[in-house]
């Protein structure tokens, strides 16, 4: 039992209003993975979110993996319509949402069929029996009812008529049966909350706020939630509850945050730290739209959001705003990047600050809109005509998106360049605790606009392409500045003076200058985690693979083998020490959710025979599979 009295006081034994309080066995456990699975309309994402909030408020470390179809409401009860939310919470610092659930909540036959293969034998399966009708079973190809045959024998099965119990409990409210049954997800949440000794007040408060305009709905959902809790407490079927103590994270004030929210906050903060108004020009696209939704709420913090007619207009408007002296930002995903490419090239030529937030998803083309992938790396690196280098920042986790956005903005402003930020679906929708930074500790990324003529020949002219000696950045002279009127454009410009130039030698110089500017961006060295100091295998990752790679390293090390881990956060330019780090190890393994794009860059730049391990199944790597790959690499069994 926890000794934290505040938390203890929050535990609502008092909810059991009648009947004797049963003694259930309480087991302590370090970590639990729960997966809620149901139909798209069953509210599984909301249920998962709420449980996550309770785990966060309790002080567990956590990581989440929402997994949902691209269709808003795929046909009810079908396999394509299954939506799930996996939550991993623990009393220590965890790195991934978990490979396999310890508890699977299946709200219908489709959810059971789609998810059962991931549930290890012996683990807990909670099934909403009401949906297991002949028709629903047939829809997903069950020839016999798995609740009645022996197919679920390897699991600890709890059959609960969630819809019926919820409907009966809500009968006094006078709600229709159909409406009452819709609250069954809150029943499930209540039951799981009881099983894991979670607080209830947070959820009740949340429901009251969510349904503030319809208090009767709030009360109905709270009733369903309490019914679920009481069901666990009073029925005999659940003999064990579990406690997961708070995690010993670094001290600080924490909140739960998703990658997209952290990205949006990072953009707001970047504007404040740069002392520039933020202009987001964008077009809705999964899985980046939440960035637009969030930023549109922060007009009071100097953020203007513009939902354009298309992806091209979104970035065009952002670039126009940058020309006018704002921090221009656009948010998108891979297909949108393809449309924006020409404008990114223009921004390279104009040498104006511009932030391109690419929340990657499965491709090519429309691909897998709601699933994750890292296959835009080479598009970000090279997806433009001509030599058009663009810096690329890749956050490794949801909360890192905050600092990454500030860093990307810093580079954009300091070096007058478009900058890519590569997030992905797993980071964008996944959440974790975030040690909220003190604003006073955030960097000053402000700049100054040009105000005076700068021509070296003393002519009193303004040369828009006269570069800073250190950064090679050009002056940012915004309209409204008297005496600095100038014209810029996509045509090649004369070095320094900035007028149109078709001169071949000048073009050669300008191409190399633009490249040198990006190559010269200051980037932190990559750090290597090698506790033994004796590893011969280095696993090198980038972006959202950080969690699974780290978890895999822990497993390999726990098995007595040595492995070194490094993670790259600046994909362009690469950290200055990366070549030296790569050279230190006999073998380098690069896991990526693409077909080896980073591995190709590394091979090309460093002539190192890196081993690529790739997967594009729409979900993050599992720690278990990567541990296997690393074990093979340590033993020298890894195929080329």
């Amino acid at each position: 039992m926890s000794t934290d009295t505040e938390v203890g006081a929050d535990r609502p034994d008092r909810l059991v209003a009648h009947g004797e309080i049963r003694q259930t066995e309480v087991r302590q456990t370090h970590r639990v993975v729960i997966r809620f699975a149901g139909d798209s309309g069953d509210g599984m994402q909301l249920t998962g979110d709420r449980f996550t909030s309770e785990a966060a408020a309790f002080g567990n470390d956590l990581a989440t993996l929402p997994n949902f179809p691209a269709e808003i409401r795929a046909p009810a009860g079908t396999l394509p319509g299954v939506s799930s939310f996996q939550l991993h919470f623990a009393d220590y610092d965890i790195l991934t949402p978990g490979d396999r659930p310890d508890v699977l909540v299946a709200m219908n036959p489709a959810a059971l069929k789609a998810n059962l293969k991931d549930l290890p034998h012996g683990q807990v399966l909670i099934v909403n029996t009401d949906e297991f009708t002949k028709r629903n079973l047939a829809k997903v190809g069950y020839e016999s009812n798995p609740l009645e045959d022996d197919s679920l024998a390897p699991y600890q099965v709890h059959q609960v008529a969630m819809a019926t119990i919820t409907r009966n409990a809500l009968e006094p409210t006078g709600m229709s049966k159909k409406d009452a049954e819709r609250a069954k997800n809150m029943f499930a949440l209540g039951l799981l909350s009881w099983m894991y000794h979670r607080g209830t007040e947070g959820t009740e408060q949340f429901l009251r706020e969510k349904f503030a305009k319809k208090p009767e709905l709030a009360e109905a959902n709270i009733l369903a939630f309490r019914t679920g809790w009481n069901y666990g407490e009073t029925t005999e079927s659940f003999a064990v509850t579990y406690e997961v103590a708070p995690a010993a994270l670094p001290t600080g004030t924490y909140r739960q945050i998703t990658g997209n929210l952290a990205l949006a906050y990072g953009v707001v903060a970047a504007g404040q730290l740069a002392k520039l108004p933020v202009f987001l020009g964008t077009y809705p696209i999964t899985p980046a739209s939440d960035v637009l939704h969030e930023l549109s709420k922060h007009k009071g913090m100097g953020v203007t959001t513009f939902q354009a007619e298309d992806e091209i207009a979104g970035i065009g408007a952002a670039l126009g705003a940058s020309f006018g002296g704002a921090l221009g930002v656009t948010s998108t995903s891979g297909p949108g990047v393809a449309l924006k490419s020409e404008t990114i090239g223009l921004a390279v030529a104009l040498e104006l600050p511009l932030l391109i937030l690419d929340v990657q998803r499965g491709g090519p083309s429309t691909g897998l809109p709601t699933k994750t992938e890292q296959a835009d790396l080479l598009q970000a690196m090279y997806g433009r005509n001509g030599e058009a280098p663009v810096p690329i920042i890749a956050p490794a986790s949801p909360s890192e998106c905050f600092a990454a956005a500030i860093e990307a903005a810093h580079i954009a402003i300091k070096y007058r360049t478009p900058v890519f930020l590569l997030s992905d679906g797993a980071i964008a929708n996944g959440s974790e605790p975030w040690n909220v930074p003190d604003v006073a500790d955030l960097p000053d990324i402000s700049t100054s606009f040009a105000t005076e003529a700068n021509a070296p020949d003393g002519s009193g002219e303004f040369w828009p392409y006269l570069r800073d000696d250190d950064t090679l950045a050009r002056p940012w002279a915004v309209p409204g500045t008297a005496g600095l009127e100038h014209r810029i454009g996509g045509l090649e410009k004369a070095d320094g003076r900035g007028s149109i130039s078709y001169d071949g030698d000048n073009h050669d110089r300008m191409v190399r200058l633009r490249q040198a500017k990006i190559d010269g961006i200051e980037v932190d060295d990559v750090t290597v985690d090698d506790p033994s100091g004796e590893a011969e295998v280095l696993v090198l990752g980038w972006g959202s693979t950080f969690g699974p790679i780290g978890a895999a390293c822990r497993r390999v090390r726990a098995a007595g083998m040595n492995v070194a881990q490094a993670h790259v956060r600046s994909m362009n330019p690469l950290p200055g020490n990366l070549g030296e780090v790569l050279a230190r190890y006999r073998r380098v393994v690069v896991p990526e959710m693409n077909l080896g794009q980073f591995a190709m860059m590394l091979r090309a730049k460093y002539l190192v025979d890196v081993r690529s391990y790739t997967k594009v199944a729409g979900l993050p790597f599992q720690a278990e599979e990567l541990a296997g790959v690393l074990t093979d690499a340590v033993k020298g069994d890894l195929p080329a």
Partner: protein, 367 residues
Amino acid sequence: MTAIDLPNPAVGGLGGLDLVPTTDAPQKAKDYTSDQEVRWCPGCGDYAVLASVRSFLPELGLKRENIVFVSGIGCSSRFPYYLDTYGMHSIHGRAPAIATGLAVSRPDLSVWVVTGDGDALSIGGNHLIHALRRNMNITILLFNNRIYGLTKGQYSPTSEVGKVTKSTPMGSVDAPFNPVSLALGAEATFVGRALDSDRKGLTEVLRQAAAHRGASLVEIFQDCPIFNDGSFDVLRKGDDVAQRLIPLVDGEPIRFGNDGEYGVVRSESGGLKVVPVAEVGEDALVVHRAGEQDPTQAFALSRLSDQDLTHTVTGIFRKVDRPTYDDGARAQVKAATEQAEQRGDNLQALLTGKDTWAVMPTPEQEA
């Protein structure tokens, strides 16, 4: 979803340039001439438009540094290089989008878009209609020479059906846009048309377009002497010019001809038609009202302009007040900022949020 009644920013209150700083210093056309050598072909209609714009801009009395010309790609899109204001020669078709971001974020700028028939109506058609629909406070000069010049002579979206060009040796089978009809269909609040060689008429349209708060589209008929030479000659010279050009004068009956012998009346089909005034009498003529909210008559006027230039309407088709996107967007930011200040919102509070938990130092850490 709910809809909210928004406050109506600026309607009828502000002119197009009212937020742009002015200067008392006298300006001349020369002040607007950049040091760049103009590189259009000899005889190009762009020269005439450039000259008109250079001599017209001083009359606005704006600070030169607060004027921005944004263009796309094409011969006409070189325009900004030749004006000593701020300027951006951007990419094909995207100038309205870039100007949108600039206009929203900088109310103190006079933002102009220079574009051509290919740039605005082909590759950039989407941005054009949405800039008009949103009523961005920008002035769009659409140079229409009915041909692709810079790519050396392919037909454009305003080329006549049957036109023989490098890409249509058997004649174009492509139906053209009528830019004025398109703009009116896109809810444009200001639509005008002028001929490059008609300096007076062009300047008057430009004057009113600049003064209009909201998106102004000015179609300028203009010659490409290399690939579409003399395309508008029937509107410039010859005995029947006056029988072809229908100049619009706000508040006046629409009549034209050497002696005003032709006029415009309602047609049986619900549109407008040209008739000899003698046949119908002066009272039957339609009176032009550019400020009419209903765009029906303006649209009907745009349909009098035939591809073969039998009749060509010039002047200001429509000029009405409607809230602009940029004023509306800024009003929301302003209101939100005031509320945030009253509440004492700050970045730290935003980042921290409402649901937090503290991880305290352990006794060992404290020790």
